[in-house]
């Protein structure tokens, strides 16, 4: 890892990285509240469709793999940027963004097929809690994809050298956190029905 032009800090840690970990801590409470509501309302819907009838485990498993692999792409992207390896940095940043878009594609497919099968935001408690929880997660993925594409553009503008590795690291923290939230959602919503 290269040194950035570091200002003196009391802990020796970078301000932006510290702020971002605090933000991630805060997001634990955000997603925690959404997941808790989902769990509290589980099984209380008065009308169907229910989880068993509608959740598609095979398809969601594939999108889960996809997101996990995107985290791999992300760490490889960071390593490439830190090394100054422009070609692989752009490849892996693009790959991460692409895999993120694939995940969003899966989610779009899932949402539209659920609506077809009669589950909307308004249908029942499952619909409301499911769509708001996974929708919030999806919105986070979308923001992440935008962030990654921005970094990719910066790389092509030759403005993402090793001295900017911290920016990529922080984008990585965000991306992995979004992945980790999905790990929880996949287990708690899809697998433990």
């Amino acid at each position: 890892m290269t040194h950035a032009a570091a200002h003196y800090t009391s802990t020796g840690l970078d301000n932006k990285k510290l702020a971002f970990w605090a933000f991630i801590g805060s997001e634990c409470l955000l997603f925690g509240s959404l997941i808790s509501t989902y769990l509290v309302y589980k099984g209380r819907s008065v009308v169907g469709p229910t989880t068993q009838e509608i959740l598609n485990i095979p398809v969601t498993s594939v999108s889960t793999f996809d997101l996990l692999m995107s985290s791999l792409a992300m760490v490889l992207a960071l390593a490439a940027v830190a090394k100054g390896d422009k070609l692989w940095a752009r490849f892996w940043l693009g790959a991460t963004a692409f895999l993120g878009l694939v995940f969003l594609g899966f989610q779009f497919y899932e949402f539209t097929s659920f609506v077809h099968e009669g589950l909307t935001l308004k249908t029942n408690l499952f619909g409301s809690t499911f769509f708001v929880l996974t929708g919030t997660h999806g919105a986070h993925v979308a923001v992440g994809v935008l962030w990654l594409l921005t970094l990719l553009v910066r790389s092509f503008q030759r403005k993402l050298g090793p001295e900017k590795a911290l920016n990529v690291e922080i984008a990585g923290l965000y991306w992995h956190f979004v992945d980790v939230v999905w790990i929880v959602i996949f287990t708690v919503v899809y697998l433990i029905q």
Partner: protein, 584 residues
């Protein structure tokens, strides 16, 4: 004017917060006066029931979110960098952003009055009163969206100050050498960034129910109205510690200075503050003792609530021990700090009375609770904040507030607040509920209500002395110099008001009380040894704030294109902000 709009200087932002918060405090106070005038006599007809609902809802919402929190933020902004030996906060543009979002959010909330549709569901918005079915108008839309906007401001500031306090301390300023005000601010910001997400989620659910027909709070769909109460109070209880801890921090600065004695048990006071912040997460359902939680939940939350009195009490004893044996100077700031202790103890006693579920069943939703709230928040937080104003006004303006006027302000306000709020204990126990626009004479509370109304007006009179004092002293007050009080902490080492860069040289700190300790720190030169570059301003924080309020306004107006256009403006301004050359 442009300089103020684009400023990223923590001192200017602090003043903006302070002035804005005070104006909102006056607005909230006017709302209170109307409430009290309506209740001055039984079956009064000064305002309608619907208007009364708007008055008490806006009074509570305004005082909590637009007065106390931002006034505390004024001090976070101005004083924290000075106390830790820094030139500014960690993220100056984010700091400006927080202020503008707060201002626009406060204006947005109050704009509802222009439509005759101010929020009217109480400051805690219980369902299903606030559902679209029972509140079809835009009143609650203003409330939900306004709070979300204000939440963004608070969260941004929370991250900013956590990083500032942890990471930008001068060399030698170890954590256990921090002034107590800085410590309490750190605990407060940790509470902010953990508690606000919970209310964000609760409000998202309410917004989706109202706008998109979801079923989060729909009983017919199997939903539970208590979900809102839990989510709200999971935020709401930590919120009251957000309201009180900064004021406690101020008191912990003022008392030692005017007792000429270091704070008794510094470490214990710091740990108690942190403990209060942590334990504050375990008591929320004491706001729900009358909602049918069951004996186990009632007992657990009753016990945790009683326990949180312990670290609070510890602080009181430490403050008293600080004064004991000290050389007390009864300045206005000191009087307010002492007034805090006295009034907060009274509020704390009624609070402990609430902690017993069976007792609370009688007290809840009556004026007994209103008494408690106002003793801790007015007698406590507001007095603490006034102590801070009298204490730090000289540092911010270079001039002292007039002490005689300050003392008149204190005594008149003390009399006023006790006349206003003490009778409420009895009014409540005699059976007058909260949030009712009138009452029958047979209840027997008419005289005490009248006394309370008179007390509220006496408070208002006391504020006139304060306003005149500020207006006169800002330009013509006695010149203060660096250290008018003989304070112990770093902010008193530099000129009043400080130069833009605060410190000519970042000091090296050798003790917890740098100006009082035997090992004197190296004197700070009058002139910087080499030119100090301070970042200029930026207008992207304002533009981003406008984008956010545009989205809220579009939502209230149910007009999608405004939401989308404002969202695009927000995204655009974030990109420009990110790529703007801005050297800290």
């Amino acid at each position: 004017m442009w300089k103020w709009i684009t400023t990223t200087d923590h001192k200017r932002i602090g003043i903006l917060y302070g002035v804005t918060a005070f104006v909102f405090f006056l607005i909230g106070g006017l709302e209170a006066l109307f409430i009290r005038l309506q209740l001055a006599k039984p079956e009064n007809a000064l305002v309608s029931a619907e208007t009364f609902n708007q008055l008490f809802t806006m009074h509570g919402t305004t005082m909590v979110f637009l007065a106390i929190m931002p006034m505390s933020a004024a001090f976070f902004n101005y004083i924290i960098p000075l106390q830790i030996g820094a030139r500014d906060v960690a993220f100056p543009r984010l700091n400006a952003f927080s202020y503008w979002v707060f201002l626009l959010g406060g204006l947005f909330l109050n704009a509802s009055f222009l439509f005759g549709a101010a929020p009217d569901g109480g400051w805690f918005g219980y369902l299903n009163l606030t559902s679209r079915q029972y509140s079809p108008g835009i009143n609650i839309d203003f409330w939900v969206l306004g709070l979300q906007v204000l939440g963004i401001a608070s969260l941004a500031a929370g991250f900013n100050f956590i990083v500032t306090i942890v990471n930008m301390r001068a060399p030698g300023m170890r954590m256990m050498r921090l002034p107590v005000f800085t410590w309490m601010t750190l605990v407060t910001q940790i509470i902010v960034v953990t508690a606000f997400p919970v209310i964000t989620v609760g409000l998202v659910f309410l917004m989706f129910d109202r706008f998109f027909g979801t079923t989060f709070y729909s009983v017919a769909a199997g939903g539970d109205l208590l979900l809102w109460q839990h989510l709200f109070w999971l935020f709401g209880h930590p919120e009251v510690y957000i309201l009180i801890l900064p004021a406690m921090g101020i008191v912990s600065e003022v008392l030692p200075t005017f007792s000429r004695k270091p704070l008794f048990g510094y470490a214990v006071v710091v740990y108690s503050g942190a403990l209060i912040g942590f334990m504050g997460w375990g008591v929320w359902a004491h706001h729900m003792f009358a909602s049918g939680l069951g004996p186990i939940a009632d007992s657990v939350f009753g016990a945790t609530t009683m326990m949180i009195a312990i670290p609070t009490g510890v602080k009181i004893f430490n403050w008293l021990a600080t004064m004991w044996g000290g050389q007390i100077r009864f300045t206005a700031a000191m009087l307010f700090a002492m007034g805090f202790i006295a009034m907060f103890v009274i509020g704390g006693l009624s609070g402990v009375m609430h902690s017993s579920p069976p007792a609370d069943l009688q007290q809840t939703d009556t004026y007994f609770v209103v008494a408690h709230i106002h003793y801790v928040l007015f007698g406590g937080a507001i007095q603490g904040l006034f102590a801070g104003i009298y204490y730090w006004f000289p540092k911010m303006t270079g001039r002292l507030l007039n002490e005689k006027l300050g003392k008149v302000h204190f005594w008149v306000m003390l009399v006023g607040m006790n006349l206003a709020f003490f009778p409420m204990h009895f009014i409540g126990l005699l059976g007058m509920p909260r949030r009712i626009y009138t009452y029958r004479a047979e209840l027997g509370v008419a005289d005490m209500n009248l006394v309370s109304t008179i007390g509220a007006h006496i408070i208002a009179v006391s504020l006139l002395f304060f306003i005149y004092n500020v207006w006169r002293s800002w330009r013509k007050g006695e010149v203060a110099g660096n250290d008018p009080w003989g304070g112990a902490t770093l902010e008193w080492t530099i000129p009043s008001p400080p130069p833009e860069y605060n410190f000519t040289v970042i000091p090296e700190v050798l003790s917890r009380l740098p100006r009082w300790s035997v090992t004197q720190m190296k004197a700070i030169p009058d002139v910087p040894p080499e030119p100090i570059h301070m970042p200029g301003g930026s207008y992207w924080p304002v533009v981003a704030a406008v984008g956010i309020i545009g989205m809220a306004s579009g939502a209230v107006a149910h007009t999608l294109w405004i939401v989308l256009a404002s969202g695009a403006l927000l995204v655009f301004s974030i990109f420009r902000w990110a790529f703007e050359p801005f050297e800290v």
